[in-house]
């Protein structure tokens, strides 16, 4: 078995290809056409030759018979005349024989009798009376016993060649007694030239054994006297004439190529020559052959044209098909691309990423490596989208996509999950820490300014990282945990990255559970208020209460405010809850009043959400109305941080609250006093110094100074200054000596439910000074 195919095999293999196939078919058909044509042409040619040869043979036979017949007539005449001359004189013989019709027709033949000297003594043609003494035939007749055929002689007066036939006459003594002669025009012997058979270039001829043509004729012209090489023309007549060799040769006397037969006549020293022109005889055959060739050529041309046309069409068809196939492939590819890529950023989409992630996990599993999943969420993208429009938002996303691509290697995968969420897969990392440089780079790159609608803007991104196989061994788990980590990053203040930890998950679950219970907490009456008293340092009396929201969770027990208030704030539940708090606190205050306790100011915290809520003023007015509490008995505590933001709106709201007659307090005072100077004209009722400062009071001189300064500042802003989180007597003493109006904290008492609080108030009533715990 040959390892490489042979040339033939290779070509056979290529046969089905249209060009090769068509060419092969064309060649085949052409071969058939031409082989057939050439065969037919050869046949035609051969047939023509055979026909010419056969015709020549036929004509020769006929001519021979005619010639022998004619010569016999002449000879018979000679013999008869000679015979009759024995008994009658010359004149009488001729006359009698003529009258009896024994002489050949006198207008063609002239019969004459000459004496031994060659003088004409009698003749059928009176004009032919000249002596024949000098004539060649007369000389020969002296010697020859047979019929003598003289050489042709041209007679200008009649414009014809004439031949003489003569026989010797015996004298009485046995010697030469003269001759009897028959003369005829030489053309007679070739008068049977049929142009239909012999054409214009055939020939009939009579040549003597002496090599002299007695007569020959071609077409209408009669020649005589040509000398030829007898032996080369006329074959020996030893064999049967039926198989005459008919040669095609050039006749020397006129240079024409002819099928030539030369046959010696049996009894006479003459040979007939019959020739048919090669050109003429084969003209028809040649014409036919030319027709065949012409047809073959036409057919070939037609075939080639046809094949060329078909070939061209086929080629065009192939091209078209190839083009369609290409287009289909391209189309399919495009579809596939669009199915797997995000149209805006050209990054892989979620579906594609999913596949790549699974692949990546397989690889990592196989080679026992880790991979990291980075979940990216753009911070405050929504703001930009809303402010600048969707077009700018799209541009931003595209630019982010570009920058992110620039941060990763070729082997890393980046995808857009949708909205402003991206995900990056770092395959084959050995250790978690290897993910950090990339993440930091991303934070840096994304943080660089963007030019949108002609201006510069900045955004940041929060990134959550989960690792395979530590944080999950399937796609969903990894993605979920990265998401949780990202959420944690957001909680941690955004523009940072966080690794996933189980705690986060737990936290997240907790968070979720809490959130759902929070939604029902209000309906289920799970909330309750604890109260913490504020002690006036001058009078040592409780002048006010702060209401603190607690949650009695059915499963978790008592949930501290810092655990659920941020969640409430986040979810917006703070608004209805806050309303409940207000209402409950005011009712309680009214109840205590009715119970006979001295007038107290009830303070309620307002969160940022509540403060900025549109219905704040309406809600407060409603609560005042419903509970019947005096406005000056309600104090709203607003965190310093909330007041710093959005100054304009803050002022508006504060104005509105002031107009209602409620008291206003700044909570957690201490940080932003510079900005607060703008609020100076406002005159808050209470300033509450942040607990962190009070803690420092007894620990350092710095702490003391700071607190002092704050008290002074607070005084400038509000009427009353209260310190929070006072826990020790030393702190209380310090504050007293430094002109602080009131304190709140464990030193007074810890927050407690209404009933216990009432108890304390009661005790206070009984004693002049608040008992020390």
């Amino acid at each position: 078995m040959p390892a490489t195919p042979t040339l033939v095999q290779r070509w056979l293999h290529r046969l089905p290809e249209p060009p090769v196939l068509f060419s092969a078919i064309a060649v085949l058909v052409l071969a058939v056409i031409w082989s057939t044509t050439l065969y037919l042409a050869a046949n035609e040619h051969a047939a023509g030759q055979r026909a010419a040869a056969a015709l020549t043979a036929d004509l020769t036979d006929t001519y021979e018979a005619q010639m022998v017949g004619a010569l016999n007539v002449i000879d018979q005449t000679l013999l008869q005349v000679r015979y009759n001359l024995r008994t009658a004189p010359a004149h009488a013989v001729l006359r009698e024989m003529g009258a009896s019709g024994l002489l050949p027709h006198e207008f063609l033949f002239t019969v004459s009798i000459a004496d031994a000297d060659g003088e004409i003594i009698a003749t059928t043609q009176p004009a032919a009376m000249e002596s024949v003494a000098a004539r060649d035939f007369f000389q020969r007749t002296r010697e020859d016993r047979g019929m003598v055929i003289g050489l042709p002689r041209f007679h200008p007066e009649t414009d014809e060649w004439r031949l003489h036939f003569s026989r010797r006459l015996e004298a009485a003594d046995g010697g030469f007694g003269g001759s009897v002669m028959v003369s005829v025009h030489a053309g007679y012997f070739v008068s049977g030239y049929d142009p239909d058979a012999l054409g214009k270039h055939g020939m009939l001829g009579l040549v003597g054994t002496d090599g002299i043509f007695r007569v020959r004729r071609t077409d209408d012209v009669v020649y005589a006297g040509d000398a030829i090489e007898y032996r080369s023309l006329v074959p020996d007549r030893a064999i049967d004439t039926a198989s005459d060799a008919i040669e095609v040769k050039v006749n020397g006397w006129d240079g024409v190529r002819r099928y030539t037969t030369a046959r010696k006549l049996f009894e006479f020293p003459l040979a007939i020559v019959v020739g048919l022109s090669d050109t003429e005889q084969l003209a028809q055959a040649k014409a036919l052959v030319r027709t065949y060739l012409g047809r073959a050529a036409a057919a070939s041309a037609l075939l080639v044209a046809l094949i060329a046309l078909i070939g061209r069409l086929s080629w065009q068809l192939q091209k078209a098909r190839a083009r369609v196939a290409e287009e289909q492939v391209a189309y399919a590819k495009r579809l596939e691309y669009f199915a797997y890529h995000d149209s805006l950023t050209d990054l892989p989409n979620r579906a594609f990423f999913s596949r790549l992630l699974v692949q990546g996990m397989h690889q990592a599993r196989r080679y026992e490596r880790c991979l990291a999943l980075l979940f990216l969420d753009l911070d405050r993208f929504k703001t930009i989208n809303d402010t600048l429009g969707h077009k700018a938002g799209d541009e931003l996303l595209q630019e982010v996509g570009r920058r992110l691509r620039g941060c990763i290697r070729d082997s890393d995968v980046i995808a857009r999950l949708g909205g402003d969420e991206f995900v990056i897969l770092l395959p084959e990392i050995a250790h978690a820490t290897q993910a950090v440089p990339v993440t930091r780079k991303i934070l840096a790159e994304v943080g660089k300014p963007y030019t949108l609608v002609g201006h510069e803007y900045r955004i940041t991104v929060s990134i959550g990282i989960s690792l395979f196989p530590n944080d999950g061994e399937d796609e969903q788990t990894l993605m979920k945990n990265a998401d949780i980590a990202m959420y944690h990053a957001k909680e941690k203040g955004k523009n940072n990255f966080q690794f996933y930890s189980e705690q986060l998950s737990t936290d997240a679950l907790e968070h979720l559970a809490l959130e759902s219970s929070l939604r029902n907490a209000l309906q289920n009456d799970e909330f309750l208020l604890y109260y913490q008293a504020k002690l006036d340092l001058n009078s040592e009396r409780i002048t006010g209460m702060e209401a603190l929201l607690h949650w009695q969770h059915p499963d978790l027990g008592l949930v501290a405010p810092m655990k659920f208030i941020p969640l409430a704030e986040e979810t917006g539940l703070i608004v209805p809850i806050g309303r409940w708090v207000l209402e409950t606190a005011c009712r309680q205050n009214v109840a205590w009043q009715k119970a006979g306790f001295p007038a107290l100011t009830m303070a309620v915290n307002l969160s940022a959400r509540q403060f900025l809520d549109d219905h704040l003023l309406g809600d407060i007015a409603g609560v005042l109305r419903e509970t019947g509490v005096e406005p000056c008995r309600l104090e709203l505590e607003i965190n310093e941080r909330i007041l710093i933001r959005n100054m304009e709106r803050t002022l508006q709201i504060l104005q509105g609250l002031k107009q209602m007659g409620v008291r206003l307090a700044i909570d957690d005072f201490g940080m932003g006093y510079t900005a607060l100077s703008t609020l100076k004209p406002f005159a808050f009722d209470t300033i509450k110094i942040d607990g962190s400062f009070i803690q420092e009071v007894m620990r350092s001189a710095e702490g003391k100074r700071q607190t002092e300064a704050l008290i002074t500042l607070g005084r400038s802003l509000g009427q009353t200054v209260i310190a929070e989180c006072v826990e020790t007597v030393e702190q209380a003493d310090f504050l007293r000596t430094h002109a602080c109006d009131g304190i709140q904290g464990f030193h007074v008492h810890e927050p407690m439910p209404a009933a216990e609080c009432a108890q304390r108030l009661h005790e206070q009533l009984l004693a002049a000074v608040a008992p020390r715990p």
Binding site: Q66, G69, A70, P104, H105, E106, F107, L108, H185, G187, Y188, F189, S191, G192
Partner: protein
């Protein structure tokens, strides 16, 4: 006066034609008075004399009588009636004789001999000088 003039003219013409008639060598085609032949076309006459046909139009056999080759009557006949030159006649008969396909018509020496033979043989046809026509003979008009 007119009548006499006319008679004179006619008489002169007659005399002249007679005179000319005897002196002219006009050849006419003749058959025996008993011959059924009334008229012949040139083509028919040529066929008979050139050996192409040996029958009359009505189917009766006919034998043409020729005159001596080279005689005046012969020459005139072949020139005026057959319309072929001597050379052509010669070539024609050469071919027929040589190929054995025909014999020339019987030749007689002169007009008188022709007249005698034709007169006595109703199946013959001949030509003579017009002066030799007598009551035994009929002139055949040739169209």
């Amino acid at each position: 006066m007119a009548r006499s003039k006319r008679i004179t003219v006619v008489g002169c013409v007659l005399v002249l034609s007679l005179a000319l008639g005897t002196a002219s060598a006009e050849v006419v085609v003749i058959v025996s008075a008993q011959s059924p032949v009334s008229a012949l076309t040139r083509a028919q006459l040529a066929d008979i004399y050139l050996g192409r046909s040996n029958r009359l139009p009505n189917g009766d056999p006919v034998v043409p009588i020729d005159q001596a080759f080279g005689s005046a009557a012969h020459d005139l006949f072949y020139r005026d009636y057959i319309g072929r030159s001597t050379a052509l006649i010669k070539a024609h008969w050469s071919r027929l004789i040589f190929t054995g396909r025909g014999q020339p018509p019987k030749a007689v020496p002169n007009d008188s001999a022709t007249a005698e033979i034709v007169a006595e043989n109703p199946n013959t046809i001949g030509y003579v000088d017009s002066g030799h026509v007598d009551i035994r003979l009929r002139i055949v008009p040739i169209e």
